[in-house]
Each structure stands twice: as structure tokens, then as C-alpha cells.
């Protein structure tokens, strides 16, 4: 435990150095990541945009320890996770990272509250009750805690997923198209909540999206195309992002 439970001195919450990811061999080789160097600052909301097949999701999965690089290194804080064993990676995911996927983020047999405290329960620890109560308060789910996921709306389910990441003091929350499955009202709700998490709790969030409206909530947007970072925007607006995307895809 101690070997990976490092003090994070680095100002960067997550970074990749010379990240290369290839699928297949020889003629059929596909380069999903083609030498990416990127850093995500602590306490910031970053978005990764790019067209379908650009490698943006692969980048997120490798950063989050869900996928292995072919070459290069990934760091969470100062800890290089690309060289960890599966067991060590599992602990990193449990204790230091948070995840929000596009849909079905929750365990159907557990209540909303149990889903929120799942990572600490998996670690066999008592949750930080005060902190959890505060997170729940901010998420606005206090009266929904005893419900099971099937009794929650899509937006509420995504909020529970974000709350799960926050409740565990995750160093970084990785969100993979978290608004992809939502109606516009729920989408606005969850984006506002993620923004709040960054502003209120200094949470670090890295989000993959192809939706300019979603990415516009971030502090910084990087653009990925053909496995490379092709552009960056530090004060994004939806309109500007839409134009950039049009250029990249065109």
C-alpha cells in the first residue's frame, strides 16, 4: 500500500509522456495514440475533444489506468502507473481515482448512498461521514439516498457517479462522455455540478466529450486528432469550440 500511496508533490494531477498506443501489427497496425505529451493541472477542469476515432477515449483510458500504453509513461501525481501490476492499479483506481462513464455507472443492487460510498467500502474503510454528507448536500440527492439506480433518472444517476468520485477524495475524476446519454436539462445539471466540484472542492476533472456545450464548461480544452494533440484552448466558449472542431474534422 505504502509504495503507491505517495505524497503528491507535483502540481500536475495527471500526465502522459510520449504516450503511444497501437492496435494490430504490420500492415493492419493502427496508431490510436501517436506520441502524446500532456499534463493536467491540479484543481482544474480539463476537457479532451476530438472527432470519432481520434484517440481521445483511448487517451483517457490510459491516463485512468484502465488500458495499457504500448510505449511511454503515465503519471498520477508523481506515481508512474504505467509500470504497476494489475493489483496495484486496482488500488490506485480505488483510492485515488474517480470514474464517470457515459451510462450505467452504478451497481443496480446498491442504493444511491451505497454506490457513493462503494470505493471506501471496497477498501474496508469507514467513509468520512462529514465529507460525504457535504458532497451529498451539494449534489442535492439527500432525499434520494435510499433509492436504487433503477428508481433514479439518468441525470440523477450521473450525479451519484460524480458524488462517488468526490466522496472518496479522488485525486482525479475521469469522465468519459458523461453527458452523452442525457436530455438537455439533465446535461446542464450535471455540468453545473461538475463545475461546482472544481470550484468548491478544488476537484481535478478530466472529461472526454464531443459536445462543445459540455467542453465549454471546462477551464481548458485540448483537441486530439489521429492520435496527436493538435490544438488547445484555455478560455473556451461553445462557439469557438464548434469552429475549431469544424476545422479539425474538415
Amino acid at each position: 500500500m505504502s509504495s503507491i500511496d505517495t505524497q503528491l508533490i507535483s502540481p500536475m494531477a495527471a500526465s502522459a509522456v510520449g504516450a503511444i498506443k497501437t492496435y494490430g501489427q504490420g500492415e493492419t497496425e493502427v496508431r490510436a495514440l501517436d506520441g502524446i505529451d500532456v499534463e493536467f493541472a491540479r484543481g482544474r477542469f480539463s476537457a479532451i475533444m476530438g472527432p470519432s476515432g481520434s484517440g481521445k477515449s483511448t487517451l483517457l483510458h490510459c491516463l485512468a489506468g484502465l488500458d495499457q500504453l504500448t510505449a511511454g509513461a503515465v503519471f498520477i501525481g508523481d506515481l508512474e502507473i504505467s509500470s504497476l501490476s494489475e493489483t496495484q492499479l486496482t488500488k490506485v483506481r480505488r483510492d485515488q481515482l474517480g470514474f464517470v462513464f457515459q451510462a450505467y455507472n452504478l451497481i443496480p443492487t446498491l442504493t444511491a448512498y451505497e454506490n457513493i460510498t462503494l470505493p471506501t467500502a471496497l477498501a474496508g474503510r469507514e467513509p468520512d461521514h462529514q465529507w460525504v454528507d457535504r458532497v451529498i448536500d451539494v449534489v442535492g440527492l439527500a432525499n434520494r439516498l435510499r433509492h436504487r439506480p433503477s428508481e433514479l433518472s439518468g441525470g440523477q444517476q450521473q450525479r451519484v457517479a460524480v458524488a462517488r468520485a468526490l466522496a472518496n477524495h479522488a485525486e482525479v475524476v475521469f469522465a468519459d462522455e458523461p453527458t452523452g446519454n442525457l436530455d438537455s436539462k439533465s446535461r446542464t445539471e450535471i455540468l453545473r455540478f461538475m463545475r461546482l466540484a472544481v470550484d468548491e472542492f478544488e476537484q481535478t476533472i478530466v472529461m472526454v466529450t464531443h459536445d462543445p456545450l459540455a467542453a465549454a464548461v471546462a477551464d481548458r480544452v485540448i483537441f486530439v486528432s489521429d492520435g496527436r494533440i493538435v490544438d488547445e484552448e484555455t478560455s473556451p466558449t461553445a462557439e469557438a469550440l464548434l469552429n475549431r472542431m469544424a476545422n479539425i474534422e474538415g
Binding site: 483510458h61 480505488r94 452504478l106 470505493p119 433503477s150
Partner: protein, 853 residues
Amino acid sequence: MRGIRSHLVRFLLTGLAIVLGITFLAGSFIITDTIRVSFDDLFTQLTKGTDAVVQGPLMRGGFGNPNEQEKRSAIPASLIRQVRNLPGVDFAEGTIQSDSDQPIALISAQGKPIGGRTAPQFGYSWMPRREFTPWRISQGRPPQANGEIVVDAASARDGHLKIGASVLVNAPPDKAHRYTLVGVARFGRVDRPIGATGALFTIAEMQRITRLPAQYRQIVVHARPGFAPAVVRSQIANALRVANVDVVTGDEFRQQQQNQVRKVLKFVYIGLFVFGGIGLLVGGFIIFNTFTVILAQRTRELALLRAIGASPRQVVASVLGEAIVVGIVASALGVLGGIGLAISLRAVLGWLDLALPGGGLVVLARTVALGISVGTVVTLIAALVPALRTARIRPIAALRESAIEQPLPRASRSILGGVVIALGIVGVAVGLFTKINNNVYYAAAGAVTAFGGVFVISPMLVPPAAKVLGFFPARWRGMAGRLARDNAYRNPRRSAWTAIALTLGVAIVGLVTIVTASFKETIAAALDNQLGTTDYFITGAQGPDVTNKVAHTRGVDIAMGIGFAETVLQLSDNTRPSDARFVLAADSRVLSRFIDLGAVSGNIHNLANGGIAVPRAFANAHHLKVGSTVFARFTKTQLNLTIVAIFEKRIFDRPALLIDHSVFVRVADIPEDQFSVAIASPGTNPDQGAAAIKRSLRDYPTVQVQNFAQFKADQETQIDQALFLFYGLLLLAIVIALIGIVNTLALSVHERTHEIGLLRAVGTSREQIRTAIRWESVIISVFGTLLGLAIGIVFGAILVTSLRTQHLVTKLDFALPRLGLIALIAGFAGVLAAVIPARRAANLNVLDAIRTE
């Protein structure tokens, strides 16, 4: 059809259940057919060149029960001269085989019977003519003098017997004799037939051993060429018309012998078919459950079909079409599996030295046709309910997340289930406690009905049971344990029906365990009550000589032989009471020293002069007094007996009748004691006394001298041995049930792929995933087992109560330690069943799993 191809793994798993069920059924058929044909062959071989047979008349007596073995008297040896002189007779020989009631044991150098204590042991007279016997000398020569013996090849090998060696042979009621081994013989193509040891003697020696001086069991006749067997038969019948004999052709004789064997084998068949039926029932439950799970998983796909315009009827037809294909293919594989099972069973029999005499396996067209049609029909029926349920799927379901959770069935279900269970129990009660015709079928139908009711309500029991059973893993295994508990009842119907096959197997095991434990208790109590004064039990060699020798041993005060017989009584009012069939035969002069009869009217000592003693309750119920006469049918004869005494207590807790040895030898065809009992003289050291008895019985090498505790333990061991055979067969059904659990778990893991991926992503370790699935399996298995034990206990209690009203059992023992052990084993089996699904779940690629919907 596309459904099958795109869900190959799932259909393989469904098919597996059918394959196993049919394997069981087809295996039972093949084994029974093979045994039957083997025995038929055995008799055809035994009497190949026999064209006519002269045998004694059927004995009078018997109870008119169609399953009884026929007993025939022996015939005078002198008749053979007349037979040989007939024009149609080429040659004829007299022959004697020992009866199964008179084992002729070859004793090894260590003083133990060769082939084991329980193996059948037969003696035969050597037949010089090859036409009459399949025995062929493989070493040495046939027996020519009365002190010579030939043994079967397996016994020679096992007992390390060499030509010229001295062989000790125990043939009760005589003391053991020594013979010189002059030859070794094989039985046709095998070393010995069906595990029975064979000893061959001269005809004169067999006459002495079987106490049939100047007599034969049969005269076998080979016809002169040109004379048909029927012609020879009438010639012989004509010549011997004044003698009291039956003359039959060789074919008729073989038919008679086969019928006798079939009576014995009938019980083996029934047993195997019961096991085959249980196997199929278990398989049917698994198929039903698998189809339910698979179709639930395919809700989306089927709803999509509906959305693009398929009618409900078309959806049902497509599902049933798949069921037919799966059913036929899997049943065919099952028949092949049955052949495999039969081959391995036969190999096991071979290792146990019970090699069947015949040739290859007997696979009848009937077996193949029945196996395939039963398998297909069971699959269809099992698929019908889930298929009809899919027809109700609304097209809109295609757009929703497939429902993993299913609500509990409505409460009306549990009322229905309760009513069905009650009906079943009534059926069982009618079958067991009334005397209507075919009551066994009522009991069987009632048991099946009650089980159907349990099947209906079992899903209702899952949530409370899972919460209670899940308490432990949730407490000890943290989050993984809680996931296990929650998964065990997230779909109560699935969990219940996954467990139901195990429930069935365990219910039967529990029932049998309780019944046998009650029998053991009954025997123990009977011994305590009636033979409590006994110091020594002498078993393994019986007869007046043995009892005499024991009585005259220093340190023995008194000894007595005890024999058992069965009778059917007819009273002067022409009624036939059924409550007193068991007859105890003993020495009436010393009886009261061993057996406590309570108050006696009349005089027990008068039994020595003939007559019978009956219990008071029986006498009162049938208005009998000392001096009344009863008409009694025994196996050998029937006669009038006067009641000379009426006693107060029941013997061995049964309404037993009492006769003296002098009557016993007249009424029983083999009036052999079961065992002898003795009381030590005051002040004798028990161990020295036993050793002294053993010494005075040194001519009877198979004799065992036991004290009270040893004898009691020995009786219980014998029951346990029979029980373990039964456990072995049921183990197969339980293995099938476990494969059903593996099957459902694998399907559940498949269904929860996304969820498992998610759990892994947020930090659940592989070990935690394995733990969760392992404990889910344990909860389901233990639930199924406890439900099965509950059913077993209820029906065990009912059955034992019924046996008590018939006075076959007096105690009810729930054998709780053994039932607890069964529950423990089931929990461990749950761990085993989870191994493969748990490994699959733990090794899922996290990213691929999350992408799965």
C-alpha cells in the same frame, strides 16, 4: 436459427443440462438391458446342450406373492437310469447347484472368505459333459474324488491357490472342510460369473454338502439326433409318470430360469429407473431455468423483433424452434453420453469383480428413440413457459435497459403453491396410511406434486433466506460479501430455480438418511430391550452344532440359536391378519433367559411339542385364546398350529410370533439360525470367554464372536454400507445439480459483464470479484440444501410414521449430525461450482466489460 448461432455459448450451456439428463436416462436403460441380456446369456450358456430337464415339483407353501422365488424339491437320483434307457435320450446327467441361502465359501490362508464377505458364493457339481456347462478347466483336471475341488480362476488368483494346495471350504451348517485343489476353471469367457465365487465338486460331495443324499436338483438330458426336445420330454414324462417330477424342454427350463432372475433383477431395474428419472427431473429443472435466464437476457433482441413487425406467435415459434434444435442435438449427445456412462459403470463393476458374463453393451433402438424423444420433449416443455412469457414482451422494451431485476411473483402464487403442497402431502398420506389399491403410486404422485408446490413458492423464500444466509459473508467479507448477498436475491426466481435441482437431490438424500437412521435406532432399541442379557453373539456359522459347541464351552452358562421365518396366518373366521408375519424360532426351554416376554398365559415350554405362541395384543384383536388353532403358510409348507401360549411383550418391537426349533425345521425350507446368543457364567472375563468360544469353534473359520456392543455396531455398519451405495448413486444427481449452478452462475456473470467491469474500474480487486461470486454460489447452494433438508425431514417423518403403523420401525431419528454434514458438503460444493464462473468474472478485461451493455 440465427439465435442459436449468435448465442452459441449460452446454448451450449443449456444443451449441457439436457445432455446430462439424457446421459443418466439412457445410461440406466443401457445398463439394465445389458444386465438382463447378460443374465439371459448366462442361462443359455449354462444349459446350452440341454434339450430336456427333469426337476422336482414346486414346494407347497409360499405366500402367493408373484415376486417370490420358486422353490422346488430335489428328485431321487435313481430316476436317471430310466431316463438314460429312453430311445430319444443320447446322454443324461444329474446335477446339483447350491442355493443362494447356502453360501459355499472358499477360505483364504488368513481365514477370510475369498471374494469378500458379501460376495455370492456358489457350489456346483462338476458336469463331465461340455454340453451341459460353461465351466472349462483352464489348469489341472476336474474333481474325481470327494476330497477334491476345482475353483474359479478369479478365486484362485485372489486366494493365491496353486494346484495341489489344500483349500478350506466353509459350507454351513457343517464345519469347514479341507479339499485338495486339482484344477482351476473359467466360466465361458470370464473368470467368474457376476462376482460369484464358484467351487466345483464331485456330484457325491455336492449331495453331502447340500444334504441331499442320493438325490439331484435336476437331471439334464441331451437328445439323440433326430429327436425333437418336445418328443424327448414326453418320452421322459411318460416313463416317470409315477414319480412326482416336472419334465420340461431345455427352452422351457431356460425360460423358467430367466423368469426367476428377472424377479430378482426387477428391483435393480426399478432402482435404476428411479435414479434415471431423478436425473431427468433434475436436468429438466436446469433446462427450464437456463431457458428462462437466456430469454430474459434476450428481451431486447426479441422486443426488437416485435418492433420490426414480428407477431407474438412468430417470436414464440422462433424460440420453440431453437428449443427443438437444441433438444435433438443435446439428446443425441446424451444418448452417446449414456453409452459412455454404461461403459464406465461396467468398468467399475469389473474392478469390483462383478464382471458381467455377456458380451458387448446392449443399446436397443428403443433406448435411442426414447432418449432423443424424451430429451426433446422435456426441452420443449421447459422452453414453453419462458417462450410464452417472451410473447408478452412489448416492442417498447427494445428501447429500455434489459431488466436484470425481476419482481417477486405475486402473493397469490404462494397461496397456490401452498395448496399444491398440501394436496401433495394428502396424496402421500393416502398412499402411505390407507390400504387402497396401488397406494405406492398415490404416494409417489403426492411427493412429486408437493415438490411442484415447493417449486412454485421457492422464489418467495429466497429474499428472507438470502438475507439470513448472507449475513455471514456480509459480516466477514465486507463489500464483496454484501455484493454476494445482494446478487443472491436480486432475482429470486432465478436463484430459487437454480437451487431447486440441488433441493431435489438433497431432499432424497435427507429422506433416506432419516429412514435408515430410524431403522438403526429401531434395531438398537430392539437389541437393548430383548437381548440385553446376552454376552456373546455368534455369527457367520450357525446351526445346532455351533450352538451346542458354544453351550459346552467353559465360561458359557447357556446358549441358544435364533432363526427368523415369515408366515401368513389364516384364522378360523377366514381372515388373514397382516400384522403378524414375522416369526422367531428359538429354543423354548431357555428362551426366557434371553428374551423378556412379560406375563405369559399358557406355557412357553409347550412350544417344544409343536404349536405357536402369539402376543397378547394380537390375540385380543383376533379373539384368540390358548388352545385356539391358526392355519399358517410358510415358505416350505402350510399347517395348523395350536396356540400354546400368549405373551405380553412385543419381540424386537414387532408383533412377532414364536415357534420352537422343532417346528422351524419342518416349515422353513432352509431352517437356518440367523445367529446364536450366549450368556457367560458368573465371574467369567468377557474377553477370555469370547476367546474360548472362538477356540471351540475353530472348525468354523468364518465365525465371529462379538459382545453386545460390537454386535450392535456391526448391525449399524451393515445398514450404513447399504446407505453408502445409495449415496453414491445420488451423488450423480447432485453433480448434475451443481453443473446447473455453474451454468446459471456463468450466465449471470455474462449478463453482469458491464456491472463487473464497472466494479473493477472503481477499484474492486479480482479477489473481491471472485469472493462475491463464490459467496453468491454458497448462498444459493446452502439455500437449496436447507430447503431440500426441510423437505427430506417432513417426508422422512411421514414415511417413518407410516412404517411405524406397519411395525417395521419403532423409532424416529432425524440423524441431525449427518444432515448437518450434508449441509456443510453442499456449502463446499457451492464453492466448487463457483470456481470457473468466478475466474471468468475476475479475468474480464475491464475496458471491454464496461463497453458491454
